[in-house]
Symmetry: C2
Subunit: 339 residues, 2 copies
């Protein structure tokens, strides 16, 4: 969207304000992106980060309890944007100081976070989320208000989710330029294991097999190796946090990859053929390249919005806009043409 | 190099002319690239290709025997640039019509070709080669005289190789803008299995695991998946020809990858840690990114040039220029600084 103001329809559905806990790349980018059209406040456990954010004009709370009490007073949406390892502490504070606040997060794993919220802040009106955006940099200074432009912002739903809670999160994501993808937490975790965490594991393995070929192999490496190993250059601690946090889903994806490669290895060694892997992989890459084809605009309304939203997400669709009121939501989506 | 003329030192070492057998992407590009500074003739088994090349000004022979007899008369370097499947037929013709001609090829596998030459055209003065260049396109029309700019042009050597035969091939590769990497055929095949063929196999497997996650997974896929699966979009028949032709070396590389991924899977499932894979893969990617660092110019001279050239290639170095005469070669290389 254009900077400066959210569209009127969307503006009515935005929360009155946003309180961002954690001011690193994602939190800092969100604070900057939402600032032009919403009151934004923030807090970081790091005094240096608080000072830097305040110097850049952000309303920074003096303490976590103060941040949460202000969020209650302003009916704010609280966004957990700190590392997942700090979530238990943050959630205990939410339960103490803002027990029924509107709450979301930006972590890259979703089922574990949902369990933590259920256990530690069960009264919060929680909608887990995961904006699929990032850069190689981190910290407040790396924040960029355009980071979320065109990104997929996953919002997690269950049968018990309230459309009104969801619409506050979705409106914020749309207002900062993302498309909103509804999903169940487990489906999200399985999906990102396959299309984000497994690519990292395979890039790491490929880089090592290449380097084991010595200097000659690396001297001959060109774009197929460069592209296939690019994310192996990501900082190891970031890869580990992401992949190890999604252990069960990643083990499943890894087993699928090991199965396909093992069968291909057997076929190549015994019959000399890679036909099955080559044809299957080529067709799969074609599906990926065509994924946005055949989507058409639709508007969701009615009483079973959660169910409809989950159907849109699992079919590869996404939300492009919100209209109406929380009692009478009209949700604009891109949905696969079934004809 | 600048178009129009080879540098004087190099020009003295170029063959008197070049005869390209097979006028697809690589052969057609080589004919165009060498044309400005050498007489180039060509032949293709396809009448349509012969007509297209002749219409573009190439001297096209009427038949394979005629092409080879002309090559003998002109002391030409004959380049096998047709698919490897046609090599036995081409080599029998070489042995009949031009048995002691200077011969090279551009196939992506080298040990098998060397065996074929030994069996079918044993008197030819053969130096196997593999220019690491290509595009997604094929055929005479796709040819591009700048295709070899900056490419690694592998030249295969054995203890029996003659520096004078090698220098004709190397001079041609240098004249069209490549850097020349000396290697033993088996070392080449092992290297490309690791840095070209395995990346294709892993991209194909990754694409399928992603697509098995359904439309949600593909909708959430971003750059790590896009980069990791890019070469799965290559035409399946090209991937198969390349990978299946290098079976033994690829099976070995695949086993290395399966081993690393299997150990990582076990570690993740049992202890929750991906430390070993992550640190090893990150370091390996660092080696790849730093591969060109620390190379310094050197000049090879003397009686054991073949041995020296192989040492340069296996250390990650390459040839940048040739000077002198075939009896007194001075070979400019980039070689790792050992200090």
């Amino acid at each position: 969207m254009d900077a400066g103001a959210a569209p009127t329809d969307l503006a009515r559905l935005l929360p009155p304000s946003v309180c961002v806990l954690g001011l690193g790349l994602i939190g800092g980018s969100l604070a900057r992106a939402a600032g032009p059209f919403l009151p934004v406040s923030g807090w970081s456990p790091s005094p240096a980060t608080r000072d830097a954010a305040a110097a850049d004009g952000l309303a920074v709370a003096a303490s976590l309890p103060a941040a949460l009490r202000a969020a209650v007073a302003q009916d704010a949406l609280v966004v957990l944007a700190a590392p997942v390892t700090s979530f238990p502490e943050l959630l205990r504070a939410v339960d103490e100081h803002a027990p029924t606040v509107r709450l979301t997060d930006v972590a890259s794993i979703k089922a574990v976070v949902a369990e933590q919220v259920d256990a530690l802040a069960p009264r919060a009106r929680f909608i887990g989320a995961h904006p699929r955006a990032g850069t190689a940099h981190s910290g407040w200074a790396a924040g960029d208000p355009r980071l979320f432009d065109g990104a997929a912002w996953v919002t997690c739903l269950t049968e018990e989710s309230e459309p009104a809670d969801w619409s506050a999160v979705a409106a914020l994501a749309l207002a900062v330029g993302s498309r909103v993808v509804p999903a169940e937490a487990a489906a999200h975790d399985s999906a990102v294991a396959r299309i984000s965490h497994l690519p990292h594991v395979m890039a790491l393995a490929l880089a090592q097999v290449g380097a084991q070929g010595g200097a000659l192999a690396l001297a001959l490496a060109a774009s197929s190796f460069a592209d296939g190993t690019r994310v192996a250059g990501t900082r190891p601690e970031l890869i580990r946090a992401m992949c190890e946090g999604n252990r069960d889903a990643l083990v499943e994806a890894l087993d699928d990859a090991l199965g396909l490669m093992g069968v291909a290895r057997g076929s190549l060694a015994s019959t000399g053929s890679l036909r099955k892997l080559t044809e299957g992989g080529h067709a799969a890459r074609g599906e990926f390249e065509a994924r946005a084809a055949g989507l058409e605009p639709m508007t969701l309304t009615g009483d079973d919005l959660i169910e409809q939203l989950l159907a849109v997400g699992s079919a590869g669709g996404y939300v492009t806009g919100l209209r109406g009121t929380t009692d009478d939501l009209r949700i604009d989506v891109q949905y696969p043409d079934r004809d």
